[in-house]
């Protein structure tokens, strides 16, 4: 699944570690999310949406 995490993070001038701290996950997990190689669980997707103050569908794009 594609996502706009990297763009949203860059807009806020956050590092991967900053975002990881806000989400309560490791930096490696943020990296895996950003590259689209790991799809988050629904609870984590909601956390991400809250952190960026955007709806989930504005962050994650269904590539199918």
């Amino acid at each position: 699944m594609n996502n706009r995490l990297k763009v949203l993070r860059a807009e806020r001038d956050w590092s991967q570690a900053d975002l990881a701290e806000r989400l309560g996950v490791s930096r490696q997990t943020v990296n895996a999310l950003e590259t689209g190689r790991y799809d988050p669980s629904l609870p984590l997707a909601f956390r991400i949406a809250r952190v960026f103050d955007q709806p989930i569908e504005a962050i994650f794009i269904d590539s199918e």
């Binding site: 990881a20 701290e21 309560g24 490791s26 190689r37 790991y38 988050p40 984590l44």
Partner: protein, 148 residues
């Protein structure tokens, strides 16, 4: 969840190594303790050995639950994948190797190194566990490499 609250950071490698060290110490203490009780007369030695091993396993299991709850979801996925694919493949490889090595042994090799039947059972069990652990480690590393 209160959006103003910062979530707790997940456990890292340091916590993992600390837990492994703690479990190893518990295992060492249990191993040393059972040496003293295993030769007690009657069924007492057997009962105490079972109690010590059970207590050590329970402590190790509790430590694993504590650690599992502290890691994040991607780390859990990596371990689930490693447990299934790595553990299963490691076990399969171990079984093939052990079977090939032992199938033509008429007992003289193990007798030469002074191993009794119970020794062989325990050695086989630990050997398979080591193969599983090796497979687990490889699969865990592959999962993270694939998800970089």
């Amino acid at each position: 969840m209160n959006p103003g609250l910062k979530p707790r950071p997940p456990f890292g490698l340091g916590t993992y190594l600390l837990m492994i060290l703690g479990v190893a110490i518990v295992g060492g203490v249990a191993g040393a303790a059972q040496v003293f009780v295993k030769d007690l007369p009657g069924t007492l030695g057997l009962i105490l050995t079972a109690a010590i091993v059970t207590a050590a396993m329970a402590i190790a299991f509790a430590a694993c639950i504590w650690w599992w709850r502290g890691i994040d979801e991607a780390a859990r996925e990596a371990h689930k994948s490693a447990w299934w694919w790595g553990g299963s493949c490691g076990m399969a490889i171990g079984v093939v190797i052990l079977t090939v090595l032992t199938i033509h042994d008429d007992g003289s090799t193990s007798a030469t190194v002074g191993m009794t039947a119970p020794d062989l059972v325990v050695t086989g069990m630990w050997t398979i566990l080591l193969f599983q652990l090796a497979g687990y480690t490889v699969a865990w590393a592959i999962w993270w490499l694939k998800h970089r």
